[in-house]
Symmetry: C2
Subunit: 199 residues, 2 copies
Amino acid sequence: MNRRAEVINAAERILEREGPDAVTMRRLADELRIQAPSLYKHIASKTEIEGALQQRALERLGAVLAGASADLATLVAAYRRWALEHPRLYELSARHSLDRPRLESGVEAAAAAPLLSITGGNIAAARAIWGLAHGLVDLELANRFPPNADLDAAWAHAINAFAIYCTPKPEGNPTSRVGLPPAGPATPSPCARSCCRTA
Amino acid sequence: MNRRAEVINAAERILEREGPDAVTMRRLADELRIQAPSLYKHIASKTEIEGALQQRALERLGAVLAGASADLATLVAAYRRWALEHPRLYELSARHSLDRPRLESGVEAAAAAPLLSITGGNIAAARAIWGLAHGLVDLELANRFPPNADLDAAWAHAINAFAIYCTPKPEGNPTSRVGLPPAGPATPSPCARSCCRTA
DNA sequence: CGGTCTGGCTAACGATGTTAGCCAGACCCG
DNA sequence: CGGGTCTGGCTAACATCGTTAGCCAGACCG
């Protein structure tokens, strides 16, 4: 069964080095000094490889987020940074629809946990923040912003807007706050920050 | 030159009826009662077709948004509705990176205008809201939320969070407010809404 | 020793985007 | 009317893609 992991490792290597179009069964077989049809002794289809990489991406992103859940700003900064550092993997994992049955259970929840923790267990708010982070990253990766766009400013606004939903965690208490009531009117600083001045 | 438009129309028809995988040069040729290579008399590549559809999507979405720019809630609702009604077209247009050179000038700006208008010309805030709307839609289309997720609640949070950046337009003045200073501390209702109670 | 399983192999299939090259007809200009 | 060019079809073919079928060497085990 270890060969299967080698296949997926090779796929990830090719993906990161040469982009998604290079991840080809024949190219992948080359990397393993094998013929393409032999791959099917270890995996059922290319889709399965993509699924495995998606799972891998979810795990890694989840781990990174878990280590950066001090407050909203650092959390989303970690999200953005990871996505920009592993754009191919992020794209592959985000664009494909999850086939939850195949996904190892818990991965999804683990990736979501830090976000939930920060919103005090407010699932809907966590989803909104997730959407925001994913959307900004996705648009950035897809080249949808003009080349000179000040994306840091956009992220700053995003963080500022959602500050109402988040109380910074008391220092030194890294455990989850899932289950606590939402933060409620912890009014954010009323947007006099530099990022808010129109250019 | 009109045949080119017919090709793109046919591509859109197939896309919407049978999904992205069905948009094949041969299938497309069938639809036009033609042989596949003949398509190349009217277009240079399949990529060009996708670019044209992307442009088309941008135009239509822009038009819809322009007609729904009363306030943030109706604007993003329109965004979401359009994307869910034309998921294939939206995906195709959002996933592909823009090749701005080929894009007809002004389309991008036109699509962005309603958003900019609502943030009072605050570009960074507009981008954040765009990211949020795109992200939520993209995750929804990609099946990333659990089947029973209450997405309306997530959208409500999203709107609530960004309310600080938006003053509702004075009734009966549909012209743009681009250029005005940002809304500043127009404090949002402090999140006592039903959507904010944790389930 | 014999049987089974593992993990390679070659050959091949159908589908994809795309190119080369031919040709009928429309259309225009002298 | 005659000839040239342009338009828009066509067939044949190519390389590449994911994938299947079927063969076989070797390891391993009873």
